[in-house]
Symmetry: C2
Subunit: 108 residues, 2 copies
Amino acid sequence: MISKTPIPPYYAVIFTNILNEEYQGYNEMSDIIEQLVINQDGYLGHESVRNGLGITVSYWESLAAIKAWKSNSDHQIAQKLGKKDWYKHFKVRICKVEHDYEFLTNEK
Amino acid sequence: MISKTPIPPYYAVIFTNILNEEYQGYNEMSDIIEQLVINQDGYLGHESVRNGLGITVSYWESLAAIKAWKSNSDHQIAQKLGKKDWYKHFKVRICKVEHDYEFLTNEK
């Protein structure tokens, strides 16, 4: 659920998106892409939620790893279909994670 | 929905969280905090979704603006209550947004 990421610095891709009214084939492609990304070099984890607005944050060792994933041929197909058929609006933000901290209750 | 942020660089706080089974008073405090944050110096926008996992990303002009918000006295009260009563687990990641790009259909 919440990714176990290493001590910073590392990188994050914040992908915020809104789907069209119809998005046939999107869920199937999401499952395929999720299986691909977790085996990608430099992948550290991801967190994803949708409730109208969708936010997916993926974590990476380096900018080079992010670039390699963006260029992955299957991912390229998904990106093209995303623009053609699925997304009404999206924004991608590439970030360097400089600090982090975590809270975990030990009783619940 | 998707924040209109300026040309990078700017900063992002990725707040990923899981609530306890009970979280009395949380929604009321969220509304108060949301009204406070949008008037904070250096605040640029935020995006928030919950569906089991919660992800809220807020955007800021500078690290100093993030620090000032973290120190805000009402926000400090919310942070204490959050640890005591509401959150089972959370992680905060402070990031520098280095690049971004956007897609918006013009037909839909």
